[in-house]
Point group: C2
């Protein structure tokens, strides 16, 4: 059994929905489909989710929200009419929005969640009804009915473990099932949305619950590129990648697939296939637990992200002082700061974090470190970019680091930091923000075209 | 004013002592001299310090120790006779040893310290008396008289801060001063020896106390080599190096100069000169706070040490969990384990420590990490060697990492870990123990002879 999830652009209008259903119906294994809210139909269009946020803002401000509501209803009306469906559902959409606003207007976070969920929910209902009307037994299943029970903190749903057992029962349905993504129902019976990755998370949870053989994630790109296509012209598509590689790549700016969505799948080793709704014949990218290693080129992908800050600490004979690093990390914990890397020397440590983690707290954090940790030198560096070169098997191939650093040196890029080994599948480089694009280009050209960019 | 310290082989017999005094007397700035106990006179000889340990062992076992004692007295008798000195001091030596044994036999740790101190102490007295007899006003100053006051834990003396003020008064003497190294006097009036680095520590403390312009450390090598001469044939001698570089090199197996001895000097930025007693005309190696950087070859030295253990921890989404690393380090702290490096990835950390730190505790430490930290994978790797490539300015020269990793790749050495950036003056590599010598050779040849060793 396969679980397929379709992103917002894949279900933005009638034409796209027809494509989606053609894909769904072409394979009897594709039993469960998770759908997003209608996305943009063209560049200047507004996503349904954003329309819903505007409606919410009007409603809690006690302003007249009728126009905003009608915009949303119209969005679905366009779909319903283009699909030549009966428009009884439009009345239900209008009523649902009204009901949420009336009953939840004094609980803004609850109202936001309820309205946000409508984007996916109405779309799922329409798509299920349409497919059914085409003679394919299809059923809309709400997250509550499916058993997607989540924690109760608004906009921050976390799946509860027992949900997986309930979801397994979805296997009993004979029809094809359409489930809206992005939200679950709390034990307190509230709609609660997932914090990040929206429908991807729902898809992953359902795939794990039903123990799918494959989780297909349909989007508007043909797979995962080896490097950012904005920086590298027409980069190769990765055919196969592991969860761990995906996680390291998505950490440093790979936007295709939210790494948190991999977590449920990771545990049960369910493979993921990233495919393009508009080019379903293309192979796409498999994400698996394990894969064969290509010893000719161990580098799977290259990513680079900006916006990192480093705290540099020096202390003579630091490594002799049991507990020193722990004290420093204690300060970060006091400020609820999570960090990403911590290269350390015998008399020094550098702590690398996303700049937003320490924003507005920097002065206090540094003062506390000074106060509690008796350091010799303490400094902060902003505007660091992190370049990640990722590939399973990398640590076993002699010369990998040599080749990458050679390509970077030829491109005249100074390596402020370098960290290899903790993760066997990546090498991390800390570089200047200004070098970020050049570094991606240089390593890409070297790894996949065998060329050095000399500057 | 200069403070000069002479190691055991420099003061092992009359001939060596004459060399030392020639050096001392040749420069009026050399006012204070720290001497060690007589070292080996030839390969199969026994160091005085070891003779003293044997005496101690007999004494606390209540066995007949007369022969051991006489061996020691004979050692000094050889020196005294060869120097044509009056032998009244030999009686005092015998009496002192007897007195220590009688008064301290029920306090073994105190007896050990007292006997150990004799090696340096007697030698200092003899050398001072001899030089005086040669017409050069010279005075023996005991550590107590000099003001070297230390903490009271046997074999683990730590200098007390106010000592430095007292030591400053040594400037008032008109004579040349000879001070025995290796021990101080506690406030409780016990002799207490320094834990490591013996006379080097005394020399550094005195140099700082009198605010010397230079601390000369005379030994039996012509300075600090760029790499271990046992591995590399006739390596270059370093002309100038910083404290920080010295510390990073000595961390990974550079035996010449104990890095803890640098600590007092570090604070007042007193330069050190490592010289060869037997070849005093050779330039030796300066250790300074700052130095000019040679941009043609930024690598100052290469060192490699074995006997490291790595704990590898993996946890999916580790970097999102505030406090995770701190919890792991808390376990290490519970077991009083200090670590040296901690390369970290987004989902993994490796903690590198000297194997002896975790010996006999490994099982418990791992169990505690498992219990407290909810990890996905936990493993230990033994027999890691650490290769350190050290050089000020390294981080500012594009391509340093590329060149070094190239040399290692050509020698077919797999890099298990690599860490650069926390310390701006070094790159650390984790390699297999079996690759240790080859790695030093390969990087030395490449850095100083421009050749690759290809294997």
């Amino acid at each position: 059994m396969k679980v397929a999830k379709f992103g917002g652009s894949s279900v933005s209008n009638a034409e796209q929905i027809k494509k989606v259903l053609k894909i769904v119906n072409s394979d009897p294994e594709r039993k469960i489909t998770i759908v997003s809210a209608p996305g943009k139909r063209h560049q200047s269009d507004i996503k349904t989710t954003d329309l819903l946020i505007r409606l919410y803002e009007k409603a809690i401000a006690k302003l007249n929200y009728t126009a905003k509501k009608e915009e949303i209803v119209q969005r679905y009306a366009d779909i319903v009419h283009e699909l030549n469906m009966d428009d009884h559902i439009l009345k239900s959409i209008d009523e649902t929005l009204e009901r949420y606003i009336t009953t939840l207007k004094n609980k803004p976070p609850r109202l936001l969640d309820a309205l946000l969920s409508c984007g996916e929910d109405f779309n799922a209902q329409i798509i299920a009804e349409y497919n059914n009307s085409q003679g394919i037994p299809t059923r809309y299943v709400s997250p509550g009915e499916a058993g997607i029970t989540v924690s109760d903190l608004p906009q921050n749903a976390q799946i509860l473990d027992h949900s997986y057992e309930e979801l397994y029962n979805l296997r009993n349905y004979k029809e094809k099932l359409i489930i809206p993504g992005f939200f679950g129902i709390s034990r307190q019976n509230y709609v609660v949305t997932f914090p990040r990755g929206g429908s991807d998370i729902t898809g992953a949870i359902v795939a794990r619950g039903v123990r799918a053989d494959l989780y297909e994630n349909f989007t508007d790109v043909s797979g995962i590129f080896r490097a950012n296509p904005v920086i590298v012209k027409q980069p190769q598509v990765i055919d196969e990648i592991t969860y761990r590689e995906m996680r390291e790549l998505s950490y440093a700016g790979f936007g295709v697939f939210h790494d948190e969505a991999l977590q449920p799948l990771h545990k049960d080793r369910i493979p993921v296939l990233i495919k393009n709704t508009n080019r379903p014949h293309e192979l796409g990218t498999y994400i698996r637990h394990d894969r064969e290693i290509n010893t000719n080129n161990v580098v799977s992908g290259i990513s680079c992200d900006k916006g990192f800050t480093v705290i540099n600490i020096k202390k003579y004979l630091m490594n002799r002082q049991v507990g020193f690093t722990r004290k420093v990390l204690g300060v970060l914990e006091d400020y609820n700061i999570s960090f990403d890397h911590m290269p350390s020397g015998i008399d020094s440590i550098s702590i690398i974090m996303r700049s937003k983690e320490i924003e507005h707290k920097e002065e206090q954090v540094l003062n506390d470190i000074r106060k509690h940790c008796d350091v010799d030198e303490l400094g902060v560096e902003h505007d660091l970019a992190i370049l990640m070169i990722v590939g399973e098997g990398m640590h076993r191939i002699v010369g990998t680091a040599s080749r990458i650093t050679h390509a970077l040196a030829e491109a005249n890029i100074n390596l402020k930091m370098m960290n290899q080994g903790a993760s066997e599948i990546s090498i991390m480089f800390g570089i200047d923000v200004e070098d970020a694009e050049k570094a991606v280009k240089a390593t890409y050209e070297y790894c996949y075209n065998g060329k050095c960019i000399v500057t």
